[in-house]
């Protein structure tokens, strides 16, 4: 987790660590050595002995995604799980955009989800899209090869950079519709 925060520029990411009693040895709130496992100053740590937050995350997944959590259910409580929420959302208004576990195993996947491009969007910086999809578009035009997908992605990212659009999951549906036309 510490590595993810370092590599994703932790100013743009906030971590909420919710400790909950799952094992027989979890008879007391987390102590200093446990709390030090997440030492990033942008983290906030909670002791939730009644599993209230886990229950709410589970409810969000059922309500907004219409299904049971894909992992991490232990005796009816979600545990050893990471849930990523995009910026601009309030608690209870949406389900996590990404959720999985166990945490140690999905760290790399989660890091990819919190991509450098998203970080750039959130900080109002220009992305590298002109050097990736934009470059393919240039080559495609020069050689007469149709590159509709790359052109659409480049245009979409430019609109998000300018603040015309927000980087939300709906953009994927719009992109798919655009490509289909």
């Amino acid at each position: 987790m510490e590595r993810i925060l370092e590599q994703t520029q932790s100013e743009s990411v906030r971590v909420f660590v919710v400790w909950e009693p799952m094992l027989p040895t979890d008879w007391y709130r987390p102590t200093r050595p446990t709390l030090k496992r997440v030492s990033d100053s942008h983290a906030v740590q909670f002791w939730d002995k009644s599993h209230l937050i886990a229950a709410q995350v589970k409810q969000q997944l059922q309500q907004f995604h219409g299904n049971e959590p894909s992992c991490c259910d232990n005796g009816g409580h979600l545990w050893d799980m990471a849930a990523v929420y995009p910026s601009g959302t309030k608690w209870g208004e949406t389900a996590p955009a990404f959720d999985d576990g166990p945490v140690y195993r999905i760290a790399l996947t989660m890091q990819q989800k919190i991509s450098a491009m998203l970080t750039h969007f959130e900080r109002g910086r220009k992305t590298e899209v002109d050097f990736i999809n934009g470059y393919v578009v240039t080559l495609g035009h020069a050689s007469g090869v149709p590159v509709h997908m790359n052109a659409a992605i480049t245009d979409l990212v430019h609109q998000i950079e300018r603040g015309v659009l927000r980087p939300t999951p709906e953009r994927m549906s719009e992109l798919a519709a655009q490509i289909a036309d």
Binding site: V13, R14, T25, R29, T31, W47, L52, W79, S87
Partner: protein, 66 residues
């Protein structure tokens, strides 16, 4: 004899200090707010912190202490 008692006293103090550090203290790392205790009557500190950071991507980790 006095020296032996003093050593035992020092050992007891050392055990107490280490024990407090490991199990008695719930202080968070520097820069973080103190550990927040949630209960049925009061979940709002979590919601408030989460919503206050709505301009950021947020990761919620559900973990057990041991």
């Amino acid at each position: 004899m006095i020296r032996k008692r003093a050593l035992w006293l020092l050992l007891a103090i050392a055990i107490l200090v280490v024990g407090f550090y490991l199990w008695g203290s719930t202080s968070t790392p520097s820069g973080q707010p103190p550990l927040v205790l949630l209960n049925e009557a009061n979940v709002s500190p979590f919601q408030q912190s989460f919503n206050a950071a709505s301009s950021n991507t947020r990761i919620v980790l559900l973990l057990s202490p041991t």
